[in-house]
Amino acid sequence: MRILLVEDDKDVGSFVAKGLREAGHVVEHADNGRDGLFLAASENFDAIILDRMLPGGVDGLHLLETLRAQNNQTPVLFLSAMAQVDDRIRGLKAGGDDYLTKPFVFAELLARVEALTRRSKNEGPQTKLTVGDLEMDLLARGVRRAGQKIDLQPREFRLLEYLMRHAGQVVTRTMLLEGVWDYHFDPQTNVIDVHVSRLRQKVDKPFATALIQTIRNAGYMLRADEA
């Protein structure tokens, strides 16, 4: 994946760039808004990570608005210290696809950036999701694994659907909280783990292989085990 990182802080910028490269991505790093806008407008990227407050006369919001005005639909993730609800809303309204506030955990950033590009690829409406021997019929709201019907509660169904749509990608607890429950707070208890473990009881336990993996210090991943 080719990712443009627009971040003026040297330490944060090089930390993120290093992490992304280690994860196998190609990173262009601009440390001011003007260069960022130039790069974003003249080259093709799979995703842009954008700071809100930037030197160089072009701030993040302005950069994104200019980009969208040019009909450039590259997915954008805001990475900002502006953490108020209104800041977040403004960022998303300006055309941002996701909003992560600083300080952040790198695994969260990586997972969200990777999810962003997946989202942009699958634009067309799907009626069926398949991961390994797990099949989900979105119209009939039915789930089968290895031909065997699995009964899920509505929320469990949505949880599994989210995991399947992001199959092969790390999905963090916050992403599940926002994507499945539409909650924007941080529960003090391990609620997400409990719900995932309930889902595992139904989806993984009766079968030989486990599809839902726990990724340490990050979250979960649903994938068909090739090994």
């Binding site: 802080d9 944060v12 407050m53 707070f185 003090q188 208890t189 409990v194």
Partner: protein
């Protein structure tokens, strides 16, 4: 606004905020009068004087209009009367002419002149040569020629100049007759009115001037209170309020509005102060702890494994610090009330059902009974995310302190004017004495220092309740804690 990097790079550069300086400088030093602009003397700069001047001008104009209409109407009435009497006179003379010819006419004119007590009638009968046959005018006035027509002209009678309105007739045989009335009275009337108006203007100017000074002093006295108060507040004394006169007039309304504004400003200021206190107090301890651990690791770590462990602990410590920090800022954000504009009609019933399902799973896993009961509808007006978070905090707390085998209840109730959300557990509860503190802003109980989380969950729930004009009360659940979040119910007419 940066999170990392040496502090030295923060100070200069485009991120410094130039507006801050300019903004405050403008407030501290009122802009001096610019030398190039004309500045009126102090007295004329008074708003009271301007009001009074405007008032006097309006008054003068209305007096002028009154005088004008009075003149107009009276003059028209007089004219009509004169015309009518001239008409009647001419009719009479015509009859005499028809009946007795020229001699009769001459006699009649003479009789009428004698009988005219008011001395305002004017007649003149001349022959073809323009010689006077009868009447009280010396000669036929110049410029009067046409037959059967009206004229208004100056005349000289007994050496007195005056104004007359006349009607001319041509008689058979080349005689000309002129019948008229002296209308000098109308001129006198106009003089009277003009004089009266001039005097009135003088009085208006005098009264207006006195009125202006009165209005000015009244305005000054009333505004002086406001001016004094705002000046004192500008100087830093935020406790001052504008005194109300109790008359309930516009100035009282203004004063009340200003007082409300001051109340809000001082609340916000208190909030800021408390936020900084809370940050100083609540963050200093964990930061100290994290720093000590890192320093200890640096000095005493036996190997890489030790160092790694120390770094991981430090990371967790930092996350904890960030959690507290974010909770404090979130509470401050809620208390500032900026999100009130995002209030919408909201049914809490499905919201509570979702939360019950969300947390119920955790309770079940821990062997805690979870009972949830909500009516079909619980309409309120509010911010969905905030209420969700407030109730979630209460449930988080309940889960955190519930022993296995205990019971947690989430009850929604609609009762008249309000909607109540009750979260109760069977944990250790909070001692009566501490309960009051818990709902103080930013209060972290002693237990919060040893359990994970910001410890500000209840404070946040309280802030959310207050933003919605509701309350959060804590009661004894015997055993355990019963938290009651009360929000105003939305009536059918709202939102």
């Amino acid at each position: 606004m940066r999170e990392a990097g040496p502090a030295a790079t923060l100070a200069p550069g485009p991120r410094a905020r130039p507006w801050r300086q300019g903004f405050f400088r403008r407030f501290r030093h009122p802009r001096p009068w610019q030398p190039g602009r004309w500045t009126p003397p102090a007295l004329l700069r008074s708003a009271g004087l301007r009001f009074a001047g405007l008032y006097a001008a309006l008054f003068g104009l209305s007096a002028l209009a009154l005088a004008f209409f009075l003149w107009w109407d009276t003059a028209a009435l007089l004219d009509r009367q004169v015309d009518a009497s001239i008409h009647a006179d001419a009719e009479g003379l015509n009859e005499r002419w028809q009946a007795g010819g020229l001699p009769a006419l001459i006699v009649t004119i003479r009789d009428r002149l004698v009988e005219n007590v008011d001395d305002d009638a004017i007649y003149l009968l001349v022959d073809t040569g323009g010689h006077r046959l009868a009447g009280n005018l010396d000669r036929w006035p110049a410029g009067v020629a046409a037959d059967d027509d009206w004229y208004e002209l100056p005349i000289v009678r007994d050496n007195i100049r005056s104004l007359a309105r006349v009607h001319t007739f041509d008689l058979p045989g080349g005689f000309h007759l002129l019948v008229g009335r002296d209308v000098e009275a109308r001129v006198r009337l106009r003089h009277v009115l003009t004089d009266a108006l001039l005097w009135a203007l003088l009085v208006i100017a005098g009264l207006g001037g006195v009125g202006a000074l009165l209005v000015r002093s009244v305005l000054q006295n009333t505004l002086a209170d406001i001016s004094r108060t705002t000046a004192a507040i500008g100087a830093g004394d935020l406790s001052r309020r504008v005194p109300l006169s109790g008359r309930g007039d516009e100035f009282d309304h203004l004063a009340a509005t200003i007082n409300d504004m001051l109340e809000r400003i001082s609340r916000l200021m208190d909030g800021v102060r408390e936020v900084s206190n809370a940050i100083a107090h609540d963050l200093r301890t964990p930061i100290t702890r994290a720093r000590a651990r890192l320093e200890d690791a640096l000095a005493h770590a036996a190997g890489e494994a030790d160092l790694r462990a120390a770094i991981e602990r430090a990371e967790a410590d930092l996350d904890g610090i960030v959690a507290i920090f974010q909770a404090i800022l979130r509470i401050a954000e809620i208390e500032a009330g900026a999100r009130r504009s995002a209030f919408a009609a909201l049914d809490l019933a499905p919201l509570l059902a979702d939360l019950a399902e969300f947390y119920g799973a955790v309770a079940e896993e821990r062997g805690i009974a979870f009972v949830s009961r909500t009516p079909v509808r619980l309409p309120v007006a509010g911010d969905r995310d905030m209420i969700q978070q407030a109730v979630a905090n209460l449930l988080d707390n309940a889960l955190k302190f519930s022993p296995p085998g205990g019971e947690i209840r989430l009850i929604g109730e609609a009762g008249g004017e309000s909607v109540r959300i009750i979260v109760s557990d069977q944990g250790p509860g909070i001692p009566e004495a501490e309960r009051r503190h818990v709902t103080e802003r930013f209060y972290r109980g002693e237990s919060a220092r040893s359990t994970p989380g910001s410890g500000l969950g209840l404070a946040l729930a309280l802030a959310v309740a207050q933003l919605h004009d509701g309350t959060l009360t804590l009661a004894d659940n015997a055993p355990g804690l019963r938290a009651i979040l009360t929000l105003p119910a939305r009536r059918a007419v709202d939102v």
